[in-house]
Symmetry: D3
Subunit: 321 residues, 6 copies
């Protein structure tokens, strides 16, 4: 029996959150947290009851230890995580000028995760899992990271892992041309692909959810789920397709992490062999729950919370005392 | 002449307020405040210009001193307050996962207030007042607390105090059956009863404000005022009844304490012999003012502020410089 | 060539901002900032690319140094700023009971700026500028300040500086009668006057924007621009007049400083010889940008930000990563 | 029977404590507390088990309410406290450049307490007490304050109150000549006088503790106690005199408030008719306890703590768990 | 092969650390941490490179999750940890009146860990380890906890685990008589016992380190190590004995956790078969390192840090930039 | 006449200061400040009354603006400062494990300042100054920085500027061999060199202050001043030499910045043509003053403070009220 359900890898950085909604030059205090799409997904999936492994290459420094402690503390398997003395753990700063204008400032160029290389991959570790989860961030970090992604795909194919690909395009990290070519190639190996509408347009060059999904299906993907923000999502396979409406969110507190929670919900549905429609509905629910809570991963729900939310989302929970 | 207008008693705890809207496991810092329905009412009533006595049994510890200092600092008479070495002052933690989901975690089982017993009551002290204010929280704390409530009712009846009863049901503290039986019995001694709509349903088993109020009146209560949240309140006596519309609140910041402010407004109206309609309108105004300010008791208004609010509530106060 | 575009002077105080939305007696921590209408305008104008001089009389104390460092740090010329040992730098405290109720508590009576006197003016310094900016706050601080304002007007007139007058009425500082008389007189010397609607009513005794503006024009002002809050502004000269609609603001975070930003926009337009309509539109844009950011001067935009805002204000900027 | 042991009056201000040991221009956050020599003494004495009344004239503003709430919360009788709309409650800022260099910046000129005048005194209230406590700060605030001090002395003399005078010289508040003349005159009415060594030198013009004390005794004071800092104190009456050694303090955290605690200890000893030597020893003990705790009044001990400290001061209390 | 080196269990609580050195009633803000002797030891030992399992019974609440996340994050195996709905995770508050006076206030009576009972023990899990670590805290929590300790001893004896017993006497939790009897009995089963000098006196009734150690040896313990604070430690077996001097600590920041770090050092030495003298020296080093860092477990060193400290302790590490 | 006294350049970074003395992985909050040896010296010198220019290449980002605002706010001329879009403003984090163990973590590799290149130098700007101040940090940042240092030396030589060189060796930034060769070469151009004892040993290969100084003098330097920490400094020229004792520091709060303050004192003495002994004494005084205050540049004194400190350093300044 497989000892892990899912394995994922990628850069998790230390995030410095400003304590005031001001241009960053006027912010005096910052709060340390972690930020990383793959670890968000891993933590989200672990909370839904699955066994998840995550790894990266961290700096042998206090910030690297902090990233490890946080993710391991959440119950994710971190036994394959690597450390290096050659580069520091990356950091980034969030700026919130107003509730509508969020910006990020990265110190991740030549960071520890960019040193990941194909030889770092532990084939035995990866082959324990049923699913390999990949994002489009990792190949943008460095050439060796790009090679590592393809090496991981290779291992996955050899050992029968499904590949779930969440494009997560970060234009700040690489050029448009290279991004498009690489993401297309990774997409071509994915069993399941989870683009946002703009991401789908960018990769495949079509416009509507239906067109984008059909194009991916024609290129060989089994399942395509296109995220449509507050409107929900559109899914398509060779056999079925449809829209699943999003859950109403009273007040969006922090949109970051919603896509990672969505991915966790989708993978959970796949692992539980739920219907695609139900799977997408769960992804939508988690996305909606995450945006109502501050923090990237703090608001990721446990399974009983997801179920409770899906049943009674329109009712307001009062102070219970 | 009576030297106090109102006497009340019950548990006031130290409240630890999280400094971030996050699941509690992710909150790093907490702010110390106090929380207690009876002391909120007492402070609210004192600010309206009345002489109020409050007491409890506090732990002989820094937190007990803090509760005493805070309530005494507000001008409430605390000379009958008791201290014990046998149990600590209770504490509780608030969790604000999002603006819609507030939860509390109590450490009040076997706390100092639960040791209150009939012998602790100072008959001479209570008999100085015109009104005894009771909540449904105290009888839920322990059997000796329950007995103390009935002993206080007895003293009130002997010395001609009116009894105002605010059910304040806390389901976390006791079983449904016992709660119902005890609250019904306390209600039967009250001159004035101030249930919320759900509380009225729970105690008396009816559905509409009119039915609930009529049922209480038939059981012998003089005055019934049913709180309807943002919609205002419904009042009924043997001679009159009616709805009083609520004041519009632009932005609910913190709903806790609104019911206690409402009770303070009602008791103030009774003490000033104002018409019941005007009395309920004042209760509504205070409730509306409290929800617009953070904190349980910080937002309780002074009389001139209530009057100013009632006259011009729809106008926005600009920055005055 | 003139080495400064604009010179302005007036009291900048240290502002203590509460760290919680509570009545001030319940606030534990305060954050130090600066507050001053003239320095806000100066900083705003400097960010738009102009050379601005600001001066005041500050106390020879740490708070005076802080005010100087902050304004100088922003690139405003402070070389004419004076210091005194005879009075402390003024301070004030903001109270935010709720988002609708902001109040201020001044400790500025007999503060250092109130000691400004005509002899303090450096004629050579002022005469370097093209425009003298005045507010109605300075003459309210003391008799010597009032005389200083008229002495500055005199210098401006002698050296051919335009005078831009922003009434900024502070009723807490002086009596109604005196205020009206003085502001009328200052207004009579202004080339450009920027009253709010209520300010216009108070000074000139008319009701509609058109009536107010006409009255000023008849009294000899060249340009009148009447601020209408979220509705925009009305402008009038001898030759043209019109309304310019305001920009939509999603969420007003902090209204303070909007008028000062508006003034900076207007003066920038004048210095660049832009059309009056375009000038007012820029003033509106800056006002709208400022209210969306916390702080009085922190949210004042740089020119490229203003242009970007004016072009795409209705679109929401996403998290850019 | 007298219903109060001691009455005192004087200015209590809101103190803003910096959150960092830095020149004040570089401190971002400040914590609100109260500061006032007379209220420190009153709180200290109340904790030792006596009934104490304190009053001042406070501003009708949030800071005035805060001062009142804090002192009343400590159990001091504040029923004679006055409020005014004519001036604000004074504030001051502490600067801690280093642990050796503390400075204060007052905003107390023309503050509410400076408006105290003889007519404000409630003769009936003062006459309830056995002892009137005075400091040399109040007469320095304004002429009407100076007159109020002498009016209070007059009431005390008429009603048989002892006068305890603690010079507390604040050179920042008045001229040397006037200070000397006034303090000499107040001293001449005092039964007990508690100068520091430098204060004694300043008022009476002698050098050693013995000389200073003898001079005061010759001028008619009953009891003179000269504070010698860490070395303890020297006392003298017509009948006895001597040195009482100070208690060893491991680490001075905050020296402010030590003199006020000393005064509370002395007055407590007088009220309990303890020997002068024991009285001074208690004063020394409280002074030593106060300097080991942050805050002006927070560290003032309760009687059982004083006794425990006097018995076992050299032993270190371990963590008790 | 054994898959764990050491297993330990006991209550870990959420600790609220005051943000100011003040009597607790005057502290406004508290910082959340964890506190628990057994988990401190477990974390310390894990950092030294060993495989450690820790378990407790935690409340199914956010604080229980926080305790689990923190300990698991440190790499300790928590797979045997239990959760309950029947009682909350215990909390406690630290008071630091001064650097010499620390006090704690527990809310742990009837907390979740007190519900631990013999049936909760997982024999298979415990039997994986080479050493069982016990403290004298657990048997003081409740009768079922006491029984659980003896049941664990029984399992250890059956499966050949060594028992290391660290008395950690908490007099606040139980009566003197019962404490003495129980601790004596647990001690009788221990292979290694690590009392402080006072603890040794209390349990065995002797005075000097030599006498205490001899008495334990005669009662059958293999190894006795008596902690002597800054003076180091005394060890004795049937074959050898001696004093090992302590390391000099420049500035004791926080003494809590030193004993747990000492225990971790001792157990590490045992697991590595180092000489007893070297083992005790390592325990001393870790104890000295822990008291120089704030926090109970944050300062526990990694092995390379211990070695570096033991080699160069007298030299001062400069700022390395 | 020269319009600047001194010009300096080099990297100033944003420094994130932990809010707790803990290993960095356990610190939650960080405070933003600036850190840079050259800007510290520039600010220090400006406070002593001189006209100083500083420049660097900053990122066109909020952190770059913050660095500029802070240094400009202090009155240093920043008109030659450059901005780039090609690299971010560098940041670094301080770790304070204990008061004895401070560590820094840089994110300055490929930062904006490392892009400084000879063409960036403004010959006209530099030639306005009498003295060029250089540190050994800048040549370690990149090859183009190294070339820039030599280009600046060239300009200085052409325009008759004196060169003051403060080695400030940062071993984390470059290899030992290269460091030694480069620093030797820069030293060879310096009129005045200010090494610490270890720096002198490293550069010139001698042991005692006298030997090191003589070696530099023989290589052609005019003045050598060797910093000896708390012991003061040794100076030597062709004509005189001697030791100047350091000032006693009661409590070292933060040693960072002391060397930069020392350099400011030396340069001030040179500019004022004071005797070398007096100059070194002033450097010692400033160094001693800086280490008693938190922060790198906050504690740099104004001239009148230096003089007051030099006159009365052994007396303790009391609370002045």
């Amino acid at each position: 029996m497989k000892s892990l359900d899912v394995v994922t890898f990628g850069e998790t950085m230390v995030l410095f959150q400003p304590d005031a909604q001001l241009p960053l030059e006027y912010v005096h205090k910052f709060q340390k947290q972690i930020g990383g799409a793959e670890s968000n997904m891993a933590i989200g999936l672990q909370r839904l009851g699955h066994r998840v492994g995550w790894f990266s290459k961290l700096g042998s420094d206090p910030f690297g230890r902090y990233v490890l402690q946080t993710i391991r503390g959440e119950g994710v398997d971190t036994s394959a995580c690597l450390f290096t003395d050659e580069a520091p753990t990356s950091v980034f700063f969030k700026e919130m000028r107003s509730s509508d204008a969020v910006n990020v400032f990265y110190y991740r160029k030549n960071g520890s995760a960019s040193l990941l290389k194909p030889e770092d991959l532990d084939e035995a570790y990866i082959s324990q899992a049923k699913i390999l989860h990949l994002t489009g961030i990792t190949p943008a970090l460095s050439n060796s990271c790009l090679e590592t992604v393809f090496a991981a795909i290779n291992i996955a194919k050899q050992h029968g892992l499904k590949i779930v690909f969440d494009p997560n395009i970060r234009m700040k990290l690489w050029g448009k041309e290279k991004a498009k070519a690489v993401l297309q190639e990774i997409a071509s190996y994915a069993d399941v692909i989870l683009p946002g509408l703009d991401e789908g347009k960018f990769i495949i060059g079509k416009t509507t959810p239906e067109e984008i999904a059909s194009a991916f299906i024609q290129r060989g993907n089994q399942t395509v789920i296109i995220k449509l923000g507050s409107k929900g999502a559109f899914y398509q396979t060779a056999y079925e397709s449809g829209y699943v409406e999003g859950f109403k969110v009273n007040h969006v507190v922090d949109p970051v992490g919603a896509g990672d929670g969505f991915a966790a919900g989708i993978i959970s549905g796949i692992l539980r062999n739920e219907s695609l429609q139900e799977t997408v509905r769960k992804g939508n629910a988690i996305g909606a729950m995450v945006v109502g809570v501050n923090g990237d991963m703090e608001g990721l729900p446990r399974m009983e919370e997801v179920e409770s939310f899906m049943n009674q989302t329109s009712e307001k929970r009062d102070v219970i005392r």
